[in-house]
């Protein structure tokens, strides 16, 4: 086994930003281990020149599986494509950023190859000639130094753990390969897609975000949150739990699958503080948490925490901020 394969994801015709950061980190790791790094791209109607540009982010070769079966972003055909790439490439490590598709694809690949898998890696180190990840656990209170005992190791990195640069502008040779697909991999069909409408306020630009989670109780619970955000001259953010439940629009979602925000002030109301939420807002200037459970993980990464009920604390806060004008 030799070399590092990085699954680079195409979103809306372009390589996802998250994939570029992971590819660059893989190149640093590859240099330290003396292993070449190859980018694997799966999709349909992919452009060779655009894919070759991955060379500017550290890939020595770009291997492209271009097939209608890979058009929908469903993970299992991607598992087949990665397994085909593995057969010819015999990679020692597989790396991918944490998207819904990539995590599912790496899960399937690890199971098929009988490979160890590390989820949510925040650092990649070369130690004793091998990859040893840092995997944070227990609400980020500990970093486990986690390596592999299997011939192949699979890693899904944490969202935003590795920021991409602009790249060197270089390019790499592109090689196309044709995967063979399993029947069960094609038994999931995409039958509809609703694009996230970006009609609401641009939460990425807001200096103050007042964020609501399931602790608001229901969709109406967002009323006081909106008033509070307005008092601060800011915008409203939300967790996946409330977006999935239909309480608030997707465009306001912060976190792994949603947006990454860095406002001056982030006020988390009725939010437990799952890692997948944290990765989208931990770069905020000041973090305030209001939660009635004193053990909620959100308090571990807040600057100011209030153990209390959002329905009483938030309206008071709104009045005080309004009064300051």
């Amino acid at each position: 086994m030799a070399g590092i394969a990085v699954l680079c994801e195409v979103q809306g015709g372009e390589i996802a930003k998250g994939s570029l950061g992971v590819l660059e980190e893989a190149a640093r790791l590859g240099a330290a281990l003396g292993e070449p790094v190859e980018a694997i791209v799966c999709g349909s109607g992919l452009d060779d020149a655009a894919m070759g540009a991955l060379g500017g982010f550290g890939a020595s070769k770009v291997r492209v599986a271009d097939d209608a079966a890979l058009a929908s972003g469903i993970a299992q055909p991607v598992v087949d494509a990665c397994a085909s790439a593995q057969e010819s490439g015999q990679y020692r490590y597989w790396l991918a950023g944490a998207s819904i598709m990539a995590a599912d694809a790496m899960a399937g690949l690890a199971a098929r190859l009988g490979a160890g898998i590390v989820i949510d890696a925040v650092e990649l180190h070369a130690e004793g000639g091998a990859l040893v990840t840092r995997r944070s656990g227990l609400g980020d209170s500990v970093l486990a130094h986690c390596g592999f005992t299997t011939p192949v190791g699979v890693v899904v990195t944490r969202s935003n753990a590795f920021a991409a640069t602009e790249g060197t502008g270089g390019s790499a040779p592109v090689e196309r390969f044709s995967p063979s697909f399993k029947a069960y991999s094609q038994a999931v069909q995409l039958v509809g897609h609703e694009d996230a409408e970006d009609s609401g306020p641009d939460i990425g630009a807001a200096e103050v975000l007042v964020a609501g989670g399931r602790g608001l109780g229901d969709a109406a619970g967002f009323g006081p949150i909106e008033e509070c955000a307005a008092a601060f001259g800011g915008a409203v953010a939300a967790t996946r739990a409330v977006v999935d439940a239909g309480w608030y629009p997707y465009s306001a979602q912060v976190g792994q699958t949603g947006k990454t925000v860095t406002p001056k002030l982030y006020i988390a109301c009725g939010i437990s503080g799952a890692i997948q939420h944290k990765v989208g807002m931990q770069g905020s200037g000041t973090i305030v948490a209001i939660n009635k459970d004193k053990n909620a993980p959100i308090f571990d990464y807040a600057d100011f925490g209030i153990v209390g009920d959002v329905t009483t604390v938030v309206p008071k806060l709104t009045e005080l901020i309004k009064a300051r004008g």
Binding site: I119, T149, F304, I321
Partner: protein, 261 residues
């Protein structure tokens, strides 16, 4: 229809957790509980039984020490009909790969139409077990379902992805992990809790499933933890209990930090 739900016992998320410095494993001897995310998978199965498929039989499947039977009962009380519990000393120390292998062996034997999992486990916060189990069973897989509809030998699932919401259709048998927003799990009434113990429980060893002990547990783990360190924290956190003046104290803090003028 036959539904299996994979449930995991985890350390109580509200209790303090620690990792054993000798084994680098999570200390699981404290207060344990049913993974809260799995309660949504159970509720999803119960709603299928109460709605479109009344003849549904629900089996709760777990891998864990014998003491995990408390969480199995908790799951059964919420609506399961029977349980399959794989308890074997050789399974201790299983990582994702080992756990997936054991679960897949148990699930294969059951011949289920639908296999449900939670979106993630509260202790490890991974979210890949569904994809691993599906691959080992060679079944279609859909993760992070925000809604599930049954019909015509298929399930239709709405799920969030980075660009919005996908609706996907998977033929059964298949594996689905559910989002924590798919439903509001009910708390079982006392008689259901009392009755759970009397439901059929099957406790199996790895040998019963024909699983090679060397492929699972600490011996078969694909990952190994060689050390632990402390991540950089965010720094000081002020936490106050609201005594009626919390909003005032917060505003004073924000003024002091010059976040508000």
């Amino acid at each position: 229809m036959r539904i299996a739900i994979c449930v995991k016992e985890v350390p109580d998320p509200t209790a303090e957790k620690r990792i054993d410095a000798g084994t680098n494993r999570l200390v699981r001897s404290g207060e344990n509980t049913l993974n809260p995310y799995d309660r949504h998978a159970i509720e999803a199965a119960v709603q299928i039984k109460e709605g479109p498929a009344p003849d549904t039989e629900i089996t709760v499947v777990t891998v864990g020490p014998e003491s995990a039977s408390r969480s199995v009962d908790r799951a059964l009380a919420q609506g399961g009909d029977q349980s399959v519990h794989i308890a074997d000393d050789a399974a201790a120390g299983s990582d994702l790969l080992g756990t997936a292998r054991i679960l897949a062996a148990a699930l294969k034997r059951g011949g289920y139409d639908l296999i449900l999992l939670g979106q993630q486990a509260a202790d490890s916060e991974s979210y890949v077990m569904a994809g691993m189990v599906a691959e080992l069973l060679e079944l279609p897989c859909v993760t992070q379902a925000a809604s599930i509809e049954l019909g015509d030998g298929a399930v239709t699932v709405k799920r969030q992805v980075e660009t919005g919401y996908d609706t996907v259709k998977a033929t059964t048998p298949c594996v689905v992990s559910v989002s924590d927003a798919i439903n509001d799990p009910r708390y079982p009434p006392l008689p259901a809790i009392m009755g759970a113990k009397r439901k059929p429980h099957e406790v199996l060893s790895l040998a019963d499933l024909g699983v090679d002990a060397g492929a699972v547990g600490a011996a078969g783990a694909g990952t190994s933890v060689s050390g632990l360190s402390k991540p950089e924290g965010r720094g000081d956190t002020i936490v106050i209990e609201d005594d009626g003046s919390a909003a005032e104290q917060l505003v004073a803090f924000l003024i002091e930090k010059k976040v508000v003028a």
